[in-house]
């Protein structure tokens, strides 16, 4: 096997519990974003577009859909004979099996996978962020700095820094301190959860972390601070593009809506950095004779006979005559039936809003400028005909048959 310069380890095992109803059956990286993508498409495509041909995807929480979605990796051109994409779930060994205890432990348990390819560097990523990034620039900086570890960082508004790992750097960009979710952040430079490690160093760090019984086995909380305390050469790699953590319903909704602001915030059109996806082949979508579609994104397989404004319609969505969909996200297979009114809502995969329903700020109050919370209809649900849901909340009705 030819020697590899780097491999990527993509952490995709998180439940994403703050996405609530959207992750009832699937892991967060498998949630649909921007109509036709799943969140993991962004990191996987970034890997491929950066020339990485070997990716380990660490799964744990409800991995069925994610496993079948990734498949052989063909959809991302990752069906490489000498590498490719490998789904790495927790497993059983001679001394029993263990769940992944944390991000660092997940990779610790798969050191064999890394050793099999014996790369010089390991890129550690999260599978639940929306961004386009060329990792080769980060690797070049890592080498130029002679770093042991590089951490990709970005600036956020100071009041938000406390939600992230906060980094302080010296004039040359070397990291001098790292604090995971501090109450009082020292700077507004935060870690994006993207790390490049020298492989040997990573191995030693993970073995040491495993031996520390007090550790939470987390990169941000334990491994990075420990390496910094040991005086390792740790550099920040500044990133200035679009990056979103879509970990909550609000941030998920907002990031989706940002796609509408001018068609796209990122270059989904440039074929050199295209976001690849394992989509089924659906027919083109059909816009009916009386339809009105404005400021919206519509995916293949959908039929729009009614009205939709400021919304994202995923694949195989159906909006019937007389139905109105405003500022909403319809996930794959969602149906909005005749005369229904859907405002600022997320309709889960294959859920149905039956005729005459009113979701969100009702039609008669539409022009009063009040904002409302987001309504979430969990996947495979039926909202019975003529239901009225005014305030933002998550709704679980009985399962659709």
């Amino acid at each position: 096997m030819k020697k590899k310069e780097w491999v990527a380890m993509l952490l995709a095992g998180g439940q994403g519990s703050r996405l609530g109803a959207l992750t009832r059956y699937i892991a967060k990286p498998a949630v649909v974003f921007g109509g036709k993508y799943r969140i993991i498409d962004f990191s996987l495509s970034n890997c491929v577009n950066s020339g990485i041909d070997t990716v380990g995807v660490l799964t744990q929480y409800k991995p069925m859909l994610l496993n079948s979605y990734i498949g052989t990796g063909m959809a991302w051109d990752l069906n490489e004979p000498d590498g490719g994409v490998h789904v790495l779930p927790p497993f059983v060994g001679e001394d029993g099996g263990r769940w992944y205890k944390g991000t660092a432990n997940a990779i610790y348990q798969n050191l064999d996978f890394i050793n099999r390819y014996a790369p010089e560097y390991v890129l550690v990523l999260s599978g639940d962020h929306i961004y386009q990034m060329d990792y080769t620039r980060m690797l070049a900086a890592h080498k130029k700095n002679g770093a042991d570890v590089s951490v990709s960082v970005m600036e956020v508004p100071p009041e938000e820094a406390c939600r992230f790992g906060v980094v302080s750097v010296d004039a040359g960009g070397r990291i001098v301190s790292f604090a995971e979710k501090p109450a009082e952040p020292e700077s507004n430079l935060v870690s994006m959860g993207i790390y490049i490690f020298n492989t040997r160093l990573l191995q030693n760090a993970l073995v040491a972390d495993e031996q520390d019984k007090t550790s939470d086995n987390d990169f941000g909380k334990n491994v990075i601070p420990r390496l910094l305390a040991q005086g390792r050469r740790m550099w920040a790699f500044p990133y200035r593009g679009y990056w979103r953590d879509v970990g909550t319903i609000e941030s998920y909704y907002t990031a989706n809506m940002e796609l509408l602001s001018n068609g796209s915030l990122f270059d989904l059109e440039d074929s050199d950095i295209r976001i690849m996806t394992n989509s089924n082949i659906f027919p083109p979508h059909y816009i009916g004779p009386a339809a009105k579609v404005r400021g919206s994104i519509v995916c293949n397989g959908s039929t729009v006979l009614g009205e939709t404004t400021g919304s994202i319609l995923s694949t195989e969505v159906f909006v019937d005559e007389g139905a109105v969909v405003l500022d909403s996200i319809l996930l794959p297979g969602a149906r909005v039936e005749r005369g229904a009114w859907v405002k600022k809502s997320i309709i889960g995969e294959r859920s149905v809003v039956e005729a005459g329903c009113s979701l969100g700020v009702p039609r008669r109050l539409e022009n009063s400028a009040q904002d409302s919370n987001i309504i979430v209809i969990a996947e495979q649900n039926i909202v019975p005909a003529n239901s009225v849901i005014e305030e933002g909340r998550t709704v679980f009705y009985h399962l659709a048959v």
Partner: protein
């Protein structure tokens, strides 16, 4: 379950004007994201056929570009798979054979090496969806030599299609004769042969041996000549069919996809039409766009008005532009304040600011590939 191998012929000369200037009819883009060939190919793979040979014409670049290794049709396999069979460069446009014997003779190895009992043969210029499973089972059960598919037409088609054949039925579903259009009675002109049939592989090999000195024959003429010698049955097809032989066929067939019944039949889940995947972003509709009764593919960006039209992938319709009753292929740009009506724009055409382009519903204007208006 009986297994058959597939054989699709795309080496047929059909003139759709500029649309076939540098591509065979099989590769002509159709219905917003497909090529005509996808229909014949999907019918085979949806009937569980996993060995498919495609006879290509001399200008096969667009077909190869589209098919690749056959991944999207599940044909990148160890056992069976996709076989590209180079056709002959016969250069005689007057021939117009549908199943040219020379093309089959040149690729006889494909047929010889097959292990299946039967071969499903079809042309690649028809839009229809048909699952062959039932017919194939009956074909083997009856130990038929040939099973011919035909469409029961409502009206007689006599005189229009000169190289079409029609089926004359004998007792039950027996085929008594295959009749060329010119020799028809009005009643017979309703059973149009679908250019699609199942033939026993050994019989096909025998025919190639018997007729090898007459390589410019059309296989369907040979079948017609020998109708009485073989066990030949007919299977009716009652679904939607559009045979694309003229630009009018192409245009009216495209517009048929604005009908709900046609979309339901051809875009339904059971017989999904498979095609090459490109991973474009979804279509974006601007805040001032107005789109009605149209079929739109991914990657489009629409700021203007679109009515009764078919938009392929990555079409850009600028603010103030109006597109009516047209077929706009992949990557075309309709700039500001244009009016485009009853027009077919081939791939990557640009209609520049303020241009006015009008064809007739019965005779659409065609803008060639990469042309600038």
């Amino acid at each position: 379950m009986p297994q058959a191998m597939g054989l699709i012929t795309t080496n047929q000369i059909i003139n759709l004007g500029k649309l076939t200037a540098d591509r065979p009819v099989a590769a002509v883009p159709f219905a917003a994201r497909y090529r005509l060939l996808d229909f014949a190919l999907s019918n085979l793979v949806n009937s569980d056929v996993r060995t498919v040979g495609v006879i290509t014409p001399y200008h096969y670049r667009s077909i190869m570009d589209h098919l690749g290794a056959g991944r999207e049709w599940f044909l990148d396999r160890k056992v069976g798979g996709l076989f590209i069979l180079p056709g002959s460069n016969y250069g005689m446009k007057s021939m117009n054979a549908k199943f040219l014997l020379k093309d089959l003779l040149k690729n006889v190895a494909y047929l010889k090496h097959g292990r299946e009992r039967d071969v499903i043969v079809s042309s690649a210029n028809q839009v229809f969806t048909l699952n062959y499973r039932g017919a194939l089972e009956a074909h083997e059960e009856n130990e038929s030599d040939l099973t011919m598919f035909y469409r029961e037409e409502e009206r007689a088609l006599r005189g229009r299609r000169d190289n079409s054949f029609f089926i004359r039925l004998g007792e039950g579903d027996r085929v008594q004769a295959l009749v060329p259009a010119a020799a028809l009675t009005a009643r017979e002109a309703r059973r149009l042969f679908l250019d699609t049939f199942i033939i026993r592989r050994q019989l096909l090999l025998d025919i190639l041996e018997w007729y090898k000195t007459m390589e410019y024959s059309d296989l369907q003429d040979i079948i017609a000549e020998n109708a009485n010698s073989w066990q030949m049955r007919a299977v009716p097809f009652r679904g939607y069919l559009k045979r694309v032989e003229t630009i009018e066929d192409y245009f009216s067939g495209s517009m048929d996809f604005l009908r709900a019944d046609v979309r339901r039949e051809l875009f339904g889940k059971e017989n999904r039409i498979h095609t090459k995947v490109k991973d474009n972003m979804p279509a974006y509709y601007g805040v001032h766009s107005s789109v009605t009764n149209s079929l739109v593919a991914s990657g489009c960006r629409i700021e203007g008005t679109v009515e009764n039209s078919i938009l392929f992938r990555k079409v850009n319709v600028a603010k103030g532009a109006i597109v009516r009753g047209s077929v706009i292929m992949q990557g075309c740009v309709i700039d500001r304040d244009c009016l485009v009506e009853h027009v077919v724009c081939d791939k990557f055409a640009r209609v520049e600011r303020g241009a006015l382009l009008k064809g007739r519903l019965s005779a659409p204007s065609i803008v060639g590939k990469e042309c600038v208006v």
